[in-house]
Symmetry: C2
Subunit: 337 residues, 2 copies
């Protein structure tokens, strides 16, 4: 990709604060001279009460065609009988790995310093199969599905990630002492892949123990790879160590080089439209997208501008203890560029 | 129970460091004049390589008869195709609720102060059904089972616990946005029970979000009730906040007033027999057992002696940064009595 021909990327601003934080990304990217043209689509739950999960064929095709996109929050109504749009996108686009880096932001104090973790989550199966039924009244079951194919694929991704990012250790997180067959298969696949990467230390950690170790001493871990639900849990735990989902980026990886970066926090309907939202998670997700596109120079520039703005502490949104609006914070980042 | 007729309680010292820490409990209880006679049984995985899971009918009957017991660690070999003894005991004895208090120990510094949480875990079903199979080569599935009966039972226990222990809030932890039927049923049961306790605040928190909030601000929670696997994960996370499983007690509650208190840490084969083990978790579990028996005076005496010994910091085992042996630490506790 030369910087003269712009790259087309899909943008799903999403629900609630989504449009405001997407606006922030567009502004910052334009200021940094990122050669991206956005193809914007509405996907969400707010457009029309009749079509609570609004997702058109066009939106999916846009990601498939562009192979790269950025996604804001989409509300997941609990127990309304329709599937989360977040999941639908992951399944439809076959986004098999979800990468969530968690690192301490300089100048933003939490109980933990120097956190630097990467969780890589299998993103298509496991407890998210959607297969559930009532056996008899008062007895229900859900199926957790683990396949060799999906496990190998995410394990491959994790080890390749570790290797290409100079990481030293991959920990497979599991509960194979209880789910010997499902998590056992997952581990078996990780071991197979591990053998091809002798330079990377491989270990297996039971999920309960992993959570305990993470809160005691996150420095014990480096790259963590795991089935879907454990990834959901551990990545939020890790985000909590450095300040929460408002600060942590994520990127979903699919077959054929598709990447959909995503802010995984909620749509925060309470503050939507009030110019109060923190765009950091979506901005940092955008940076992941740029790295994926090998636009490394702009990625690093924008990354530094975000980090430095937060570190200086003069302009911060309310969730970080400041009083800046979304636009003020965004402007401060642009001024750093 | 008057203090003149001794109460018979079952004791399973378990594997590894189990016998040493059980010795510590016996010593402390004797010193405190606790009117308990121990009925000791070996249950574990170490006795004989031919019978890796050694559990006799007698041992089970002992708990059923005495209705009260204390249990040390039992090793769970991963992927050896036989079921964990810890689980077997829970299932055979129908120990439906697992209560794990987590509180900061004065004088033992972690990143968190004033943690005071109770996790109450459904202990018999969920992801621990043991139902797993291979569908075709490379595709395996596990069944998660949630029943109305078990969910109501543990919810009842949680609310009653909250009420009788002066707690104000019960949070049901779930992932019903994904497992709408199983976790949905669990929540439905919690809601039904919550209606009978209008004085207790009831809320529902998605497990990923719960983990993030716990590491950011554990004071947001009070009593947490949840399905089996989430309880396994969250209770270890909470233990991590205050220093780890070596410091946190637990008690399993069954039908007809059966209670089996249990140290949930591992059997630590590396330090077994070396007089290095920290008996705190088993001692505090013993205290839970005494409270269950309404031996409140001795329970509080022993509890204070343990807490004060750790707070003073002169005698601590290696895992807490000290250099005391198990027997020295135990003697220090006895001296406080
Ligand atoms: C919103 C929800 C369905 C989703 C998940 O469970 O994966 C979210 O928690 C996430 O981590 O992206
Ligand atoms: C050892 C293991 C089977 C057990 C469990 O998963 O319940 C343990 O982690 C626990 O929490 O008691």
């Amino acid at each position: 990709c030369s910087s003269s021909t712009p790259i087309t990327a899909t943008l799903f601003p999403g629900d609630g604060i989504g449009p405001e934080i997407a606006e922030s990304v567009k502004k910052v990217f334009t200021t940094a001279g990122v050669p991206i043209e956005w193809e914007e689509h509405y996907v969400g739950t707010e457009i029309d009460p009749r079509t609570q999960s609004f997702l058109t064929w066009d939106s999916l095709e846009s990601v498939r065609r562009n192979k790269v996109g950025l996604k804001g929050p989409m509300a997941t109504p609990i127990g309304k009988g329709h599937r989360s749009l977040n999941l639908t996108l992951r399944k439809e686009l076959n986004l098999y790995a979800n990468v969530r880096p968690c690192y301490s932001l300089p100048g933003y104090k939490t109980r933990y310093d120097d956190v630097d973790l990467i969780t890589i989550r299998e993103n298509t199966e496991g407890e998210y199969s959607g297969l559930e039924h009532q056996v008899v009244r008062g007895v229900v079951e859900s199926l957790k599905i683990i396949t060799r194919q999906a496990s190998l694929r995410v394990a491959e991704y994790a080890f390749l990630y570790a290797k290409t990012h100079g990481r030293e250790r991959v920990s497979a997180i599991h509960k194979a002492n209880i789910m010997q067959k499902t998590d056992g298969l997952f581990l078996k696949c990780c071991r197979e892949v591990a053998e091809k990467y002798p330079e990377i230390t491989y270990e297996e950690v039971v999920i309960d123990n992993c959570c305990m170790m993470l809160v005691k001493n996150p420095a014990l871990f480096d790259v963590l790879v795991m089935p879907n639900l454990y990834g959901d849990i551990i990545s939020d735990l890790c985000a909590g160590l450095v300040g929460g989902l408002g600060l942590t980026p994520s990127c979903n990886i699919g077959e054929d080089g598709v990447a959909l970066a995503e802010a995984v926090h909620g749509s925060a309907p309470d503050i939507a439209g009030k110019n109060l939202a923190n765009p950091t998670a979506l901005l940092l997700s955008g940076v992941m997208m740029l790295r994926h596109l090998k636009l490394n120079e702009q990625a690093e520039q924008i990354h530094s501008a975000i980090i430095n703005t937060i570190a200086e502490g003069k302009y911060r949104t309310a969730d970080l203890g400041g009083s800046s609006t979304t636009t003020e914070f965004t402007k401060a980042i642009c001024d750093h560029l």
